[in-house]
């Protein structure tokens, strides 16, 4: 049997996801929540008279949307394929499940980029926050690196979703713990030391710090290696996910109860 090339599978999965998104825009609701979150964080900061924190309030909802959508979708993809009874077919097909996941999650992640302009627009319309990025190059590079790491992380979560009877609980539980650990709104430098150690293992904390630094133009020291850490974490996550997903699928094929778990 001829093995199918990676690119056509990823492209086909991406196309499928794009079509599904167009048909059911409700799937993107995490993006619609962005203006509400931006208003909330800005309100808290303004009420305390801290308009120096505007950039924090505008960036956090965009990072949250990126994480929430990828996480939600990677669980839904598995659940959908299972309900569809196509999960078994994918397991039997020569193309690997991970390529299908990469294609579908990549489209969702790209779609979630719209959260950033949306958040900036909300801040500007309601609180007059002028959206200026001090160092657009670093900002853009960080955003891309963060997105790559998000796709890798979604792939890792898919392993747990395949093995879990109720992936929704798992999904629901992975939001705020990671917003805290990832320092998406409050820099982890303010956390107790032992939490900081944990946070350093989460790519979101490096990403959020670098996004804030490139927006305000302060604290950009050593940005190339900080960027490299994000990409390194993405690579490690991908390798682990690849190995675990391969193992899971091998077991699933041998036991023949993929649709039942």
């Amino acid at each position: 049997m001829r093995r199918v090339g990676a690119v056509p599978v990823i492209a086909a999965a991406a196309l499928l996801e794009a079509r599904m998104l167009r048909r059911s825009p409700a799937e993107l609701f995490a993006v619609w929540l962005v203006p509400l979150q931006t208003l909330g964080y800005l309100a808290i900061f303004r009420f305390s008279g801290r308009d120096d924190l505007d950039a924090y309030a505008v960036l956090a909802p965009a990072i949250i949307a990126l994480w929430a959508l990828a996480l939600l979708r990677s669980g839904e993809v598995i659940a959908n394929e299972r309900d569809n009874q196509s999960l078994e077919a994918i397991a039997a097909a020569p193309a690997r499940l991970e390529l299908v996941m990469i294609g579908r999650v990549a489209v969702i992640t790209l779609a979630s980029w719209v959260a950033l302009p949306l958040s900036a627009l909300t801040g500007w319309l309601f609180f007059g926050v002028v959206p200026v990025v001090a160092d657009p190059t670093v900002f853009g590079l960080t955003y891309v690196a963060m997105s790559l790491a998000t796709v890798a992380t979604a792939l890792l979560f898919a392993v747990f979703f395949v093995n879990s009877r109720s992936p929704r609980i798992f999904q629901n539980s992975l939001s705020y713990p990671f917003y805290v650990l990832g320092g998406v709104l409050v820099p982890i430098a303010l956390y107790p030391q032992w939490v900081q150690v944990l946070s350093r293992g989460v790519y979101l904390s490096w990403s959020a710090d670098l996004l804030r630094a490139s927006t305000t133009g302060t604290g950009l020291q050593g940005w190339p290696w900080r960027l490299a850490v994000i990409l390194g974490l993405a690579a490690v996550t991908f390798i682990v996910a690849h190995a675990l997903l391969g193992l899971t699928m091998r077991n699933a094929r041998r036991e023949g109860k993929l649709g039942l778990t």
Partner: protein, 275 residues
């Protein structure tokens, strides 16, 4: 031979249907959660959500802001969980029971409303545990007075918010694919204006009026009055809780009416009962 009319069973009371539906809901909950997945998954996530807002207080370097955010979010976290009523009501439609519900002699609303009570015990517990556990981690003590007020406020806020969620659930039943979006947008709008993040008075007047439709706006105001040791705090709490319950009852009645209108529409063929 007896006329078929005589064989028709008497219409079962709505209370009985409601009680049966509550049991179905409890069954749902046991399938969704185990004690382990509830405590290590859901509860932990909720505590982290409250901590997330407490940490904003650290960023602001203000004890006052930290306490305000912790209490507001801790009470709100259970109320937000109650908005799952919107999803679980749509699940009832997803299980394909709609043709039976609309052709049965009893009313349809207690079946939908009863099954969605499944969130109440968990929501009350998450709010109460959040109110009692997270503030001490940030260095705020809990007094016996505060404990009693927190318990009362958690129960009333969640029960009243269940009433509030029901009419929304009835509307979303007509478009079940919007259940997640509707539930999340509702709880985010509520969280924004109900006084959990900033005092309601921070917002422009029309937004302040709008905030009054939410039951949690009133119960939270009451809880803060006791915890902040305002003179007449307990009176304010009693008034806030009474108002929240009254408002919740009104919303519940509207919800039951809308659910019955939905069933009526299904009987007349304007709803596709097979989907």
């Amino acid at each position: 031979m007896a006329s078929p009319d005589l064989l028709a069973p008497a219409r079962p009371s709505s209370a009985r249907i409601f009680a049966r539906a509550v049991r179905t809901g409890a069954g749902d909950l046991r399938t969704n959660y185990t004690w382990w997945s509830w405590s290590s998954g859901w509860l932990l996530r909720c505590l982290m959500e409250v901590a997330f807002f407490g940490l904003i207080g650290l960023l602001l370097q203000s004890r006052e802001a930290t306490y305000f955010l912790l209490i507001g979010r801790a009470l709100f976290v259970g109320v937000a969980e109650t908005m799952w009523v919107i999803q679980s009501t749509a699940w009832e439609r997803g299980t394909g029971t709609l043709p039976l519900l609309v052709s049965a002699p009893g009313r349809a609303w207690p079946a939908f409303a009863g099954r969605s009570t499944q969130w109440l015990p968990s929501a009350v517990t998450t709010s109460l545990v959040s109110l009692l556990v997270v503030p001490p981690l940030f260095g705020f003590g809990v007094t016996p007075d505060g404990l009693a007020a927190s318990a009362l406020a958690a129960v009333v806020s969640v029960v009243a918010s269940y009433g509030f969620a029901l009419p929304l659930a009835a509307v979303v039943l007509r478009r079940p694919s919007w259940r997640n979006a509707a539930s999340n947008i509702t709880h985010n709008v509520m969280g924004l204006v109900c006084g959990a993040l900033v005092p309601v008075a921070f917002w422009p007047a029309p937004v302040q009026w709008f905030a009054q439709i939410f039951t949690v706006t009133h119960s939270l105001r009451g809880l803060r009055a006791v915890l902040d040791r305002e003179p007449g705090g307990w009176g304010a709490l009693a008034a806030g809780l009474a108002l929240a319950l009254a408002l919740g009852t009104v919303w519940f009645a509207v919800g039951a009416w809308l659910l019955e209108r939905f069933a009526e529409a299904a009987r007349h063929g304007t709803i596709d009962i097979d989907s």
